[in-house]
Amino acid sequence: MANAMLIDESRCMGCRGCQVACKQWNDNPAELTENWGSYENPPELSGITWTKVKFTEKVEGDQVKWLFLTQGCMHCTEASCEAVCPTGAIQHHGQYVLVDQDWCIGCGYCVAACPFDAIHSVFETEAGGEQKATAKKCTFCVDRTSNGLLPACVKTCPSGALSWGDRSDMIATGKDRVAALQAGGYARANLYGEDQLGGLHRLYVLADEPSAYGLPEAPRHATSNVAGQWLSGILTAGIVAAVPFWLVFKRQRAEEAQGGGAER
């Protein structure tokens, strides 16, 4: 009976209530920002920004679309961050993927491994400088949900785009919504997160294909081919060892075999 968050992006209006509620609940300070040509700010998630709305404008013929994506940790069943963490600080607790803030060493590997850019160990300070700390991300407000409350973002959302509940219920609701959107002319509407990476716990009803929102169509687990990568490295060493060195030093070996010159 795992809970999940369903985000209906066709109902999201990009108001940033979720963004501010998350900041307020988690006592995260604001970053110093400037308008870079968009309503979107801060431009990326960071160690102190755990959810934000991504704004994408898409032009299709003479139609304009303004797509909003509520970014944050997906709490993947097959979590890349958990797989690469060298100290074991990142662990699954039920469906939540959580970082033990007392154990994390702030190495930053999870930051690079996340397919969704959802976890960060560096943040910009209000004065404009940079600070490195432990890795931080959305916790699904585990301190709230374990006390019978809704996550702060879900509670705040004024349009009802965000909801929280049993994962299979959220999937069913999401599919209904997708069907309604498709009937309403949104042929590419889809539910994102049902099966990716073993199942995500942040599910999206999207009115357009995932790539339109900047989501990876088929997110890749960071260590999905790590054995192949080791092999690549070791084989290269082997080939480099075998061919050039053998070629180059075979004259010396030949001399040696003939018993000439070499002293021991």
Partner: protein, 811 residues
């Protein structure tokens, strides 16, 4: 609003024009979305930009700022030509069948004017706009709607010129787009369907703002939508308690609640006021009761029959909007007529039109008291970056004020819903609530009058201020109470001295009641919360919703007398039956001999079929009908005129600009003055608006780090085409200039803004949020440096929404 927020879920269509609910009233989207999910309602957004509301809409249509009447006229023409109006409603509930004076001529006949215009006074003699009456004073009607002098035919004739082609040429809205909108919304003319129109400053902040709203009222009357669930003319008010502030008459022209401020020339005494201000029909016949009860509230025992209840102590105005409204007031400040100013929670330096003029005007004040919660460009106008404090003579007093959470109080939503809010935090330092501050000032004024005398000291000394700053006491006074024991003819007690009146139906004109605001009457009286508890009405939080229409009668108190939808007689047909079962709100119960249902009837409870006035739902009008034809300063029908600063000539007539609007010309030609730009210098249409992340003139939001992070500075939204012309890329800084000033902001180049084609000519439009100033964590240029010093013909609300600018890339 004629309806309520929660009622939105009952609509079959939403026409959002001049508003951006997803942006500025985000919580409303949940109600709108309920209607879309449950009944397939369509959300239609008409806006110069593709906004956050448009992003979720089913239909979006672009419209050039300042061309709304052309759009509404086109919609009305479409409804009339295609017979999509709700016939039974129109015939019975509106003045469509009423005959107008034969001397009346409209804009179609007189090239943009109506009969009776006097160019010297810039106003209309409205004699030819009167109804035709028989010798007994009954209004003549033609219920077949054929008589050429009936309102319906005059309406048709007036809007014949507003063809689909005309809409395209004037508004820049492509024909098929317009037809999409018209078709979708006009479908709510079917008797069982209702649609709601949601609007805000995008309609009101124009020199034709009043006429824009008139259009919406007319459309809703034609479609039979007003007074019904999911219908109505619904203003999305711009602040959480601006409804409250207008109810309590924080405007010069009215006293609480919506009675005219006495005029020195017209209302020399109480009798003259009551005679001129009390109509012969409709609910306002009770005005004497409301006014006298108000006077009793203010002067208590000192107000008696023999002294006209101290009517003479009421301040009187000697002019109208051209003397007292905001822009006029700032001119009076500028020329020294007004010497001092007490500003409570307002920021003219950011929110005022032609803000450079208004900031300079503030420097002329002898003294200024500013009551605020945070530093703003107004509290610190005297040390703005471009100001030398040593040159300012104004004595400035800063009174730190408690904010809304730091004091108890009531606020009123757009839906007239009064909700009590408790105090939940302590104000910092020396900050106090506004009531406490005003009480301190009153006590001191009183002491000074007592000690030193002055002009008419009794007006202050005799004030009934026994409540001090006691909140409960003040609310009792606003609610109304008996000033003495009153019995009826049989000797039964009707009211006991000091006890609150149940509601405004108990108010009297003989001084036996006092009431600070008759429309609120009943709000402070204990009422059932639906779960059997008696709770002060506006404090109730009962969630039961009989009927399931979202009326929620046990939550708070909706004025008047907890009516949720006003004019709700219209929700039943001319025999008293609901138009459809799923929108049954109130209906005539033949057995019980009264009206019953899920809302308080906005109608005489026992008036049944056959009784006089059974089909007069618009009880506030003397004739009891909704007015398709209604006299306003510039005419009885809205006619399209261009904004003061317009890129094109008026295609509907040769009257370019609203003929009754005063144009100011102080210091024209100077750097700071009432300057007006022309389209050869300033070819681009500009509008100002709000963003979700910030609040009005900024005081409450720009100091909050999380909001400053999300929306750090102002910007100019411009089309890709215009950006290309100007060599601007997304994120570049641009300089925006108008005849009144220049500002530099960052450019958001976006496909959501497109150029308009107006009668073959390409006209660009841009827009900027206006929350910002040099104060705050989120800061930047003040958009109102650009806006013109001109306002609506009836209210003088400034034309913030359509003016001319030019744009260039910043060096």
């Amino acid at each position: 609003m004629t309806n309520q927020w929660r009622d939105l879920k009952n609509a079959d269509a939403f026409l959002v024009c001049g508003a951006n609910p997803a942006e500025n009233h985000p919580a409303s989207m949940s109600h709108i979305n309920k209607a879309r999910d449950a009944r397939g309602a369509k959300l239609i957004v008409v806006d110069p930009r593709f906004t956050r509301s448009a992003s979720t809409a089913d239909i979006y249509a672009p419209i050039r700022s300042g061309s709304d009447i052309a759009f509404w006229g086109g919609l009305m023409n479409y409804i009339l030509e295609n017979n999509l109006y709700h016939e039974e409603y129109v015939v019975n509930y509106t003045n469509a069948s009423f005959l107008i004076d034969e001397g009346f001529q409209g804009a179609a006949d007189l090239d943009g004017y109506f009969s009776g215009f006097d160019p010297e006074t810039q106003s209309y003699d409205q004699d030819t706009w009167a109804y035709q009456q028989d010798t007994e004073g009954n209004i003549l009607r033609d219920e077949t709607l054929q008589d050429p002098n009936c309102v319906f035919q005059l309406l048709k004739k007036h809007y014949e010129r507003y063809t689909v082609d005309m809409v395209e040429k004037v508004c820049g809205m492509p024909k098929d787009n317009f037809l999409e909108v018209a078709q979708a919304f006009a479908a709510t003319g079917a008797p069982e369907k209702t649609g709601t129109i949601l609007y805000a400053m995008g309609q009101t902040q124009h020199t034709v703002g009043t006429q824009n709203v008139r259009c919406m009222a007319m459309v809703q009357l034609l479609l039979g939508n007003t007074g019904r669930p999911g219908g109505g003319v619904n203003a999305l008010r711009g602040e959480s308690n601006v409804q409250g502030s207008t109810d309590m008459a924080l405007l010069f022209h009215i006293i609480p609640a919506y009675m005219n401020t006495p005029n020195a020339a017209k209302h020399s005494d109480l009798a003259e006021y009551l005679e001129k201000e009390t109509p012969t029909g409709g609910y306002w016949v009770n005005k004497p009761k409301f006014l006298i009860s108000l006077l009793k509230a203010w002067w208590g025992d000192k107000a008696t029959q023999s002294n006209d209840f101290r009517y003479d102590f009421l301040p009187k105005i000697s002019g109208g909007i051209n003397t007292y409204a905001w822009i006029s007031m700032f001119h009076a400040i500028n020329d020294g007529t007004v010497k001092g100013m007490w500003i409570l929670g307002q920021n003219p330096a950011v929110g005022g039109p032609n803000a450079r003029f208004e900031r300079k005007a503030l420097e002329k004040l002898d003294w200024m008291v500013v009551q605020e919660i945070a530093p703003t460009a107004t509290t610190d106008f005297w040390r703005a970056p471009d100001v030398d404090p040593t040159s300012i003579q104004t004595e400035v007093f800063l009174l730190p004020a408690a904010d809304a959470m730091e004091k108890e109080g009531t606020i009123v939503t757009s839906g007239r819903l009064i909700q009590y809010r408790p105090k939940v935090a302590e104000p910092p330092g020396e900050a106090q609530g506004d009531i406490e501050i005003m009480d301190l000032i009153y006590q001191e004024l009183r002491r000074l009058y007592e000690a030193e005398g002055g002009a008419l000291p009794e007006a202050v000394l005799e004030l009934n201020w026994s409540h001090g700053a006691d909140f409960d006491s003040i609310c009792r006074e606003i609610n109304g109470y008996w000033t003495k024991d009153v019995t009826d003819e049989e000797g039964n007690a009707v009211g006991t001295e000091g006890e609150m009146v149940a509601n405004f139906t108990k108010l009297t004109d003989d001084g036996s009641t006092a009431c600070g605001n008759w429309i609120y009457s009943g709000y402070w009286v204990p009422a059932n919360d639906g779960d059997g508890n008696m709770v002060t009405a506006c404090k109730r939080r009962g969630q039961k919703d009989p009927g399931g229409l979202g009326m929620n009668p046990y939550w708070g108190f909706s004025w008047p007398v907890n009516r949720r939808i006003i004019y709700n007689r219209c929700s039943a047909d001319s025999s008293g039956k609901p138009w459809s079962e799923d929108k049954a709100l109130i209906w005539w119960d033949e057995e019980e001999g009264k009206w019953t249902g899920y809302d308080v009837p906005d109608f005489s409870g026992t008036k049944g079929p056959g009784d006089a006035g059974f089909n007069d739902p618009y009880i506030m009008q003397p004739e009891g009908k909704g007015r398709l034809f209604a006299a306003r300063n510039e005419g009885p029908f809205p006619e399209h005129y261009e904004p003061l600063e317009s890129p094109v000539a008026n295609l509907l007539s040769s009257v370019q600009f609203n003929p009754v609007v005063k144009q100011w010309d102080v210091d024209r030609g100077q750097d700071v003055g009432d300057n007006v730009g022309t389209s050869d210098q300033f070819p681009i249409v500009c509008s100002t608006y709000r963003v979700c992340e910030h609040w009005q003139a900024g005081g409450m939001s720009v100091w909050l780090p999380w909001l400053a992070e999300a929306q750090p500075e102002p910007f100019l939204e411009m089309s890709v085409e215009l950006a290309q012309e100007k060599g601007v890329s997304n994120g570049d800084r641009v300089v925006v200039s108008s005849a009144r000033g220049e500002v530099e902001v960052v450019a958001i180049v976006t496909p959501r803004v497109k150029p308009f084609t107006l009668d073959g000519k390409t006209v660009h439009q841009v827009g900027m949020p206006w929350h910002f100033s040099w104060q705050g964590l989120a800061r930047g240029a003040t958009a109102n440096f650009l806006t013109p010093h001109v306002g609506d013909g009836n209210t003088m609300i400034p034309e913030y929404k359509a003016f001319l600018v030019d744009v260039r890339k910043a060096v």
